[in-house]
Symmetry: C2
Amino acid sequence: MRIGELAERAGTTTRTLRYYESRGLLHARRAENGYRTYDESDLRLIRQIRTLQDFGFDLEETRPFVDCLRAGHPAGDACPASMAVYRRKLGELDALISQLQGVRAEVGAQLARAELEASAEVPGGPEPRCELNWEDER
Amino acid sequence: MRIGELAERAGTTTRTLRYYESRGLLHARRAENGYRTYDESDLRLIRQIRTLQDFGFDLEETRPFVDCLRAGHPAGDACPASMAVYRRKLGELDALISQLQGVRAEVGAQLARAELEASAEVPGGPEPRCELNWEDER
DNA sequence: GTAATCCTTGACGTCGGCGTCAAGGCAAGC
DNA sequence: GCTTGCCTTGACGCCGACGTCAAGGATTAC
């Protein structure tokens, strides 16, 4: 199949596939007229990449999975290098999640404090008595 | 004070402060020789911006806080527009955190499955019997 | 006086993952 | 033959928050 069909079946664009090729993740055979030609294994490869990208992996991190598939394994994550990426990613995710939870707590606390002080400033208490300066909330 | 001192006291760079000015977040008076001059209120303003950026707010999102400070409020989050940004951010954080938790669960499941299949392939079971193809773990 | 250190504006570089255009070749239907 | 729709390579654009360099003026230290 040619690049347009592959892109459509993979749910992506030809530009993206050429970009993958430029990064060395995808290798295309060439027809006599110079057109790129692909087979089903290329489709599986792209789907592997897309799945990982949806997880938030960047392109370089998908390389071990691609290499693994190309080495003949039925699954891209069957190789030690791929599993190592999984493990590293789990650590990054855990760190990121707990950092975000910390930020969430801090922002929540700031908001609570600000709301409290705002209600204290207004003589009538926390009634729906708008401050001056109101304008818009977007 | 001049831009170099302000940058140092705020823990940032002169380039960053000029960038803030170009975005309309920071306004500088000018000395006779053309040098920018600042006072303590500018320092507080920058610290407000930096705090929010550490929370993951992008520059545009800090604008209401800056405007609030400049309007004379002692705290940048005392204004309704600032609190609205807080609330929106809380929603984004919650959405992001739960999305990441979903990804974390999926990646964890993929890793578990891959490890299981890898140990099943090796005749000796999950003993420390390295696969061929090993190479490096980085 | 002159060297070192500040300041000024302007402009290009960075990073990732492509989008989007340009100019042209190839294939298929009418 | 002509149009339409694939395909090719090359190259610039985008986004955010600055980093970094260039060329020159101002101030301060000695």
